[in-house]
Amino acid sequence: MKKKYDEIYRSLLEFWGGKFSSRQEEDIAAWLKEEPANEKRLKQLFRLLYRVSYAEKYNRINLTRAEEKILSRLPMREKRGRRISQRLYLWSGAVAACLLLFSTMFWFPEKQEYIEKNGASQILGGHSDITLLLDNGKRMVIHKDSSFVLKMDRVSVEHSVGAGLCYMAKEDSLSGRVFGEAVEYNTLIVPRGGEYILTLSDGTKVWLNSETELKYPVRFTGATREVEIVGEGYFEVAKNEACPFIVHAKDLDMKVLGTSFNVMAYRDENVSVVTLETGKVQVNAATGREMLSPGWQAVWDIEGKSLMKQQVPVNLIVSWKSGMFDFVNMPLEQLVKQLTRWYDVEFSFTDEAIRAIRFTGAVERAQSLKFMLDFIEMTSNVKCRMENKMVYLDKKLSL
């Protein structure tokens, strides 16, 4: 056993140094398959190797010299004409030739944009109009920057810029239903490229992300408060211990008393996810239930019909409602789904392998689509091209 470890240890260390045989490489691959824990062992070892070798070389880097060198070569921004010669000066031989090709993109940004991403700089998310579907079947289109008041039986609805729709019950808000009174429902439809905020008659606030529908009674009556959601929403539920708040989503129900949580349950996703920020929430699915505490997330696997829970950084998941795209190690395929909803454009992969490329970043949602595409291009080997609201994603050709 010890001998075997010695050998694999040797293979790993020589692999680290880049001097390894193909047999050693195969040994490592086989060892990794032996048990899942071996991958963690490999990572632990490499972490240590990096730490030691980085630390050893740290003092060989002369920061002061680099500082002087770079600062002396930084052109004042106004002197744009000098850029080419400055750049050539820094590079030599093959590396210079290669970098020149690579940096062409930066020298003619205007032209590049015109050809590659026609119109993308004008595409902003969050501006689509919202549709309100009333109980009598009538539709109202709501512009974000309009304000109005709707009078309904026992409820008045106010719409104002920034605060969205606000339902206010005329009497004591949660008093029982008047005998014979039918429950009246409204449905709010946030299309692609939209987002919205709304306050229900009990004071519960709901932030709705793009491509989301919420159905709710205009006035809560009876023993429970129940709403239905398709898409993504963040709920800040007004506390009322006598009257549980129940959210129905695709394959999931959530029961809460007073808490804040995020629900993501789109039709085209293969998971539905509930993430709790404060309070407590009980998530019910066909095959089981989970009680979540803050920082936990319940994930329903639609195909596998299984419910599991995990701990997550909640702020990343709910940051959309404060105007951020926050993604950590997110595969391009998933990032693109969010961009599709927010910017109301379609994406097409012309290279399948790039779907799995992972991105980490934090970008304000107010940025244009062009900004997002540039971000993707500059931080990866993915190339974006846009025509008629269709973005084609391809692998950058290597030089």
Partner: protein
């Protein structure tokens, strides 16, 4: 005074060259080490990283970057630049696994004077010959056979010294909190 990423970005955006100075102090060495992990040539790695900083300034690439994304952005453009060079030389960079990159990135990102000091102390605690052997394989990337030849010892001695030396390093450096988290994930595994 310590300048965080938000401060630095603000200075860069208002055209202050000092912003660049603080940016370099914060990231330069980490980026060079990270790039050197692929290039295995420290002075070339310095050139590559310097070019990124100049490009960042000239093209105002920092304009659209959120403070939270600055670090990842710098590491990513540096990685892309050296991958481009490597691919140009016919080296297949797609064989570098993402998890390996993650480790290299995280270790470089959190490297600071204190960590460097800790590592040096840990190395200095090893007996001299053991330290030389560890250094030869880990930092200079010699193979076991080459190391044995350099010091005129048997491969078996190299094996034993490395196993002991690495274990001691791991035990010593395991005091750091972030490494502890990692060890916790690993359970009580040991290579011995």
């Amino acid at each position: 005074m310590i300048h965080d990423d938000a401060d630095i970005l603000r200075m860069l955006k208002s055209g202050e060259r000092d912003g660049m100075k603080f940016l370099l102090r914060r990231y330069y060495r980490s980026l060079v080490l990270f790039v050197d992990g692929f290039m295995h040539n420290l002075s070339e790695s310095e050139d590559i990283v310097q070019e990124q900083f100049i490009k960042l300034w000239e093209n105002r690439l920092f304009d659209g970057i959120h403070a939270k994304a600055l670090s990842t952005y710098l590491f990513t453009i540096s990685r892309n630049a050296c991958f481009n060079i490597l691919e140009h030389r016919g080296i297949q960079t797609e064989r570098i696994s993402p998890s390996h990159l993650d480790i290299a990135f995280h270790e470089a990102e959190r490297l600071d004077e204190r960590t460097v000091q800790l590592v040096r102390e840990a190395l200095n605690k090893l007996p001299q010959r053991m330290r030389e052997i560890v250094y030869s394989v880990v930092c200079e990337n010699y193979s076991y056979a080459e190391t044995a030849e350099r010091f005129g010892i048997s491969i078996n001695t190299v094996k034993t010294s490395l196993r002991k030396g690495m274990k001691q390093l791991r035990d010593d450096l395991g005091d750091r909190k972030d490494l502890l988290v990692f060890l916790f994930l690993l359970g009580n595994f040991s290579f011995d």
